[in-house]
Structure formats: structure tokens, C-alpha cells
Subunit: 454 residues, 2 copies
Amino acid sequence: MITSCPSALRASARARTSNADSVPRRERFSAMCNCALVMCVVSDVPTKERTIGGRRTAEQNLWGVQPAGPMLFGRGCTPAREPATICLQCVDTQKGAAMSDDQSRPLDDEEVLRYWIPRLVADGGDPNDALAVRNRAATWDAWPDAWAELGDGYIAMGQDRLALGHQASAAAAYVRAAICYHFAQVVAFHLPELKTELQGRKVAAFREAAPLMSPPAERLDIPFGDANLPGYLRLPAGRDGPVPCILLVPGLDSTKEDFATIMEMAVQRGLAAFAFDGPGQGEVHPRILLGQNYEACIVAAHEAMAARPEIDAERIGTLGRSLGGIYVVKAAAVEPRIKATVVFGGAWDLGDWPAMPPLIRDGFVYATGADDEDDALARLSDVTLDGCISAVTSPVLVVHGRNDAIFKAHQAERIAAALPGNATLWMDEDGVHCCHNHAFEYRTGMVDWLDRTL
Amino acid sequence: MITSCPSALRASARARTSNADSVPRRERFSAMCNCALVMCVVSDVPTKERTIGGRRTAEQNLWGVQPAGPMLFGRGCTPAREPATICLQCVDTQKGAAMSDDQSRPLDDEEVLRYWIPRLVADGGDPNDALAVRNRAATWDAWPDAWAELGDGYIAMGQDRLALGHQASAAAAYVRAAICYHFAQVVAFHLPELKTELQGRKVAAFREAAPLMSPPAERLDIPFGDANLPGYLRLPAGRDGPVPCILLVPGLDSTKEDFATIMEMAVQRGLAAFAFDGPGQGEVHPRILLGQNYEACIVAAHEAMAARPEIDAERIGTLGRSLGGIYVVKAAAVEPRIKATVVFGGAWDLGDWPAMPPLIRDGFVYATGADDEDDALARLSDVTLDGCISAVTSPVLVVHGRNDAIFKAHQAERIAAALPGNATLWMDEDGVHCCHNHAFEYRTGMVDWLDRTL
């Protein structure tokens, strides 16, 4: 079934209250662009060359912006040559326009406000921190240090609060430190040593938080072939027998720690949650690189949780974020005991590769340890639901944003269409990647769906 | 004692990591202005007349902004006459420059980003909602409808989730609805009927949330003279005997519902919290107007909580927000059983009146039911700590932001100086009113302080 999503609810509420005098901008310009917040004219002439994996590719950059409608911010204008029309709301869907890996470009307010703040807040961060970084980092080069400095402040705060016996505040401060370190490293593919160091600080910060949480997060190492995969298990307080459990599968360049808010929602609703790093992710990179058969680690995590006496082995589901959303479907195809699956900003395959933001393609090269993009794609040749999705017979929820710049909406629609009997699609017409800009609705919505489906 | 505050910690962390190449903008311009984020030249010539309480007063407005340093946003420039220098970071400290009651002026990004988003998030709202309002409301006239529409969406979400049995999500949605309705009405003094209607929707939304919270918020009416005052009591789960309790006292045009985040912090830390509306606030306005002897209602709330078997009558403290911060000190002076007091963005008196933003002065006229500002001031003639503060012998924590536009920093410093033996002052050099832009540190800090002081 394909059902309407919470955005329809918003549109309905809007319809009830709006009148001709207060038509929101989105609607006034809806004839011009699908999302149509602000219309601009931008040159489509390549203006900059970039190097990745030894190859040189021409990239378009945002310049020559010319207002053709009301602007949120005034901007200096340069006449555009051979203009093409884009919309600033979905600017991050334009190749190279935003989420570029050109670190010397100015920090763009629209990118910060429309993508990074929503993602930060969704993962438990503080928008005041993003505004502070915006005010202190003139270019993306300065982004890592600005975030790391905020992380250091939260570490100091956590230590101070813990010394006074305030566990709850210490835990919250350490979680915020981890988020700051994550944001510090998220654009730093060009500085692998710095990225590794910041990842280490992220891991250490969250590890301080884990035992202080209420209920605590138990650190586990689950067997995976000859190796172990690290994870955190939170069990709800006041259990009366075994409880259902959600396996939380990170995406590209996200990790188990980034599931803090979803884990909190789970335990508040009486569900256990286990988040772990798989190949190419967090603590496991570069020990095991992202490659073929990632779904084996989800099966291993399922096995480990099914063996826990606190968890009901018949009621274990998965939630895969972004790239993890592909893998949870593949896992459901090979492990029929997985009772329900959530594809959270996922995809059918990597067919959108050429249109993905450069930062994301850099991420794939990094996670796979590839020499270049072609090598990365070769290492990920099994990242497709072709030939396996028909084996999925359990319920699947697909959550996606129409403005997703990384995995385009047709990817999610294809998954839902391939599972007509058991998939539910929530497509948010205003949503960015993982619907971070509507995180409250969808994150509670996904956990609630698992709560009633498991 | 006067101790250093968490901002010193941030400065210290900054000092450890910053170097000459990455001096933040604040520091680069520190010679120009105390807070010095962006320097502008603005005319100090009155440009607009406004009417309040039957009197006409000349107000300065933001226009003719001329960049004299790096601008966060480009702006159209008009040459200024008789220029005066202000800083956009503390723009809300300028009389009439922001938080004006001119509703036809454009929605200003700096005001939204620097004051309203931090306050919204501090009180449990979603910055995505503020960005949505920013994108849909071109002027402040459109602000109430845009927020109310978001509130309606959350009401519908709460109903949908509740119908499916998801209490936690329903409670969270109703709380967000209440916050949206609060923000809808916060600037609507010029539309008293709309303001009353939106206040009613705020009250109704929170009332839906209260029994669904975990632990629930119990609605109480406490005796106050011939009348009753409505409030919400949250008791921590898993109590082992009577617990300490925080009485939460709202400020001007804030209400018991706005304490949702602080109440949550309290119960997470094993403290009870009771928030209520006093004269001139929330449900009590206009039944009882703001006037003389407000502190009597704090004493009444203390009496009611001391009588509860779940609460330790010897361990009751207060936290007064903004205007409520004056009243909690007055209450401590007359009720020695109040064991500890937090002045959260409060003041010594209303001596800063002429410099307060017009919106705030409108609020005093509204809350007191006065004819004009002079009448309001006459009705509030006892709002001063003169002659009473020396009777306060219990511990007092004073939390304040140096950039507070409503109650200037000297007000807080005066309170601390008058109580050399028992006051602690946390002055955040970067803080706005109630340090909303550093809410995490100070709100957890205040509750932690009460936790160890009660």
C-alpha cells in the first residue's frame, strides 16, 4: 500500500487556515518550481575543476546568482551566462552547487540553515551551535575547528557536571560533544588524519556518556566472522518480560552514535534499540572497509540480539538510515526472522551516482578505501535490490523526502512499488535527505510504526 | 560569592584550540564593540511614530543599514544621516531596532535567528518551524497565522498518534502545538482578541498533553485568596519517599506551559516541579491582572506544595523567569521556608523601562490592563527589591546574559552584590535574555544547582 504521509496533514492544516491574503510563498511560486521557495538564475557553465581519486572533473559552482523572485537574503549579483533555473530550497540537489568538496568556498547560509541545522537538531544537537559555527567560520575550511572547539567545551562541561554528581547533565553534555565532533569531521575527507582524530574524539565522548544515560547504553562487541563490531544497546526501564528490539543501521559516514535521539525515542516507548558500526563505519573503519555483503553484519546483529534474554527474538526489526536503508532490505531478504524493516532515506541502488553531491561521492571513496570513484563503484557492485527484494515478505516502511539530494525520490518509490503487498511509503514533498527538516514527525513516526508492527 | 559562569569554560576551551589563523570574527572585531559580530551604521533619527496607550511616541527603526564590516547577509543600503554605531548581535538591545511593535516591518533574519529561534528551542520547539515561518511570513503581520497553522498541524498529529495508541508521540505533538500557539500570540498585543484566542488554544493543547506525559503532569488549582491559580505538577518516577520540589514562576507574557523543558529536566533528576500561572499570566489573565504583591501567589504555591505528601516541605525552592525572577526574590524575603531561589533573567526593578523593547512595554500594559505605560508603571510600583532583599538569607542563584535587551546586566549584578553572603552570579558574556542562546548549559545548570542546594 502507498499511503499519504504527515506532510499531507500539514497541507491540510494549511488549507484550513490560509486565505488569499496570506498565501505562503511556496504556493505563490508553485507554478515555477516544484518546491519553489525562491527562484534564481544560475549559470550552468562549469567554473571550477576539482580533483578526486586522481581524476579531474569539471564542477559547477554557485555563482552569478540573480534574483528572479523574492529573496530570503539579499545577494550580490553577477549576470549569468547561459542561465538555468534552480530553486534555492533544493539547491543541494544541484551537482556541485552545495555540499561541494571545495573547502575554500564561503559558508553558505542556505546550506547551513536548510540542511545542516535540521540534520544537527534531528541527531540531538543544538542549533545555537550551528549558528555559532556560522558566525565564526567564514569558509568551510574553518568548519572542522569551529565544531571541534564546541565539542571540547561540552567535554569540559561533562567533566564539571560529573564531578558534582550530575549524571544526567554529564551524559547530555558528552552526547553533544560527540555530535559536535561528528559535524567537525563530516566534510573533512580531504584531511584524512584530522577526520580519523575527530572520529576518535566522537567515539570517546559517546563512550563517556553511555553508562551515565538513564537507562544506560550498554557497550557490546558482537561477533562478525573473525572480528567484532562495536555497538550500544539500550533497554527500556521497567520491563515486564522480553521486549521488542530495533536494530539501527548507520549510513555512509554516519555511525551508531548518531542514533542517540532515535534510541531515546525507542526506550521511552518500551522498545530496546541496538545501534552498531558495520564495515566502513565509525570505529570499524578502516579495520574493515565498506564492501560486498554488508548485510551479513545486520544478520550478525540480529543473531546477537535474539540471544539476549531481555529481548523477544520474535520481535526484532531494523531501521536503516540512508545507505543503511538499502542494506536493511537486503538483510530482510536473507533473514526472514527480521519482523519489520524501515528504509529511512534509503535507495534501490547507486544509480544516481553522477548526480550525487561531490561530498557524498568522496564519502564512498573514503569508506571503501578505493583509489577513485570508479574503484568505489566496483567495490559496491552488489549495492542493489535487483534480484533480492522479491524475497522480502515482512512489512517494510519507506520514508523519504522529495528534495533528497543524495538518493532521489524515485529510488524510494521503486522500493515501495516492488513490494505492493507489504510496503508503506511516506514521501514528504518538502523533505530533504532523511527528512531531517521534518525529523520530529518522521522519527517518532518510524519508531511508532515499529512499536505497533513488531 | 560571584563565580565564573559556563561561558568562561567556553572561552577557555576556545583559547586552547584557537590560533592566529583562525581567530573568530567576534575576536577580530572586539576592539569595535563589546560583542562585535557585525558592525553597522544606523541612523538614530526617529523615523516612525507609534501609538501606545493613547500616547504617541517617536521610535527609531532599523533602516539605512550600512555595512562597516563583514556582513552575514547582504543588505540593501541607504546612506544614514547622523549615524550611530550598533552591533547586529545585540540589535535587540537597541530601543525600537528589533522586537518593535511595528507589525508591518519585514521579518528580520537576525531577530529570528538570534532571539526567537534560541528561545523557541529552549522552550522545546523545533527550529525547523521557525525557519518555516521565516520562509512563509514576509512581515510580522503574518507571524501569528504562520505559527498557528503549524500549531494546528501538531494538534492533528497528536490526535492521529493518540488514535493509534502512541501516547508519547501524542504528548510531544501537543506540547509542540502549545509552543506554536504561544509563538503565534507573542507579538499580537495589537490584536487582543486574536491573542486571547491563541492563548486559549495554547492552554487547551498543553492540557491534552499533560496526562499523556511520562511521568504525567497533574493539573491542579491552588487556592489564592478568593480565587484559584491553575498549575501543573510533575512528580519524578520511582520515588523513594518525599522529594524536593521546584516552584516555577513565569515572566511577563510567559506561562506555566513554557516550563515544559525545565520540568522535564527536573523529573529526570529526581525533583518534582510545579509551574503555575499567577496574576496577569496565561489562564489567569484577565481574571486577575498583574499588579501589586504578586509574590503572595508564590507563597500560596509553596503552601500547596508543602502540603503534598509526595513533596519534602523542607526542600522547596523557586525558579523565576524574567519578571518572575524579581518576584521569587520578594517571595524569599517573606517566606523563609523557601530553601533556595533562582533568578533566571530577572531584575532588581523596572528602572530600565525607557530602554526596553516596545514589545515588552506593550506586554506590561497588556498584563496590567493599564491605560498606558504610565498607568502600567503606577500599577507595578512595588516591583523592586529595594527594602526587602536584605531579608533573604537562603541561597540565591542569579543567571543572566550580558546582552539581555529587556533587563540589563547591571540589574542582575545589583542583586548579587546585595547578597554577598548567599548569592551566586552566572553572567554569560554572550547571553541574550534568559541566556536562551545558551539554554542547554544554563537550564541544566540551574536545575543541577537546585538539585544540590535543596
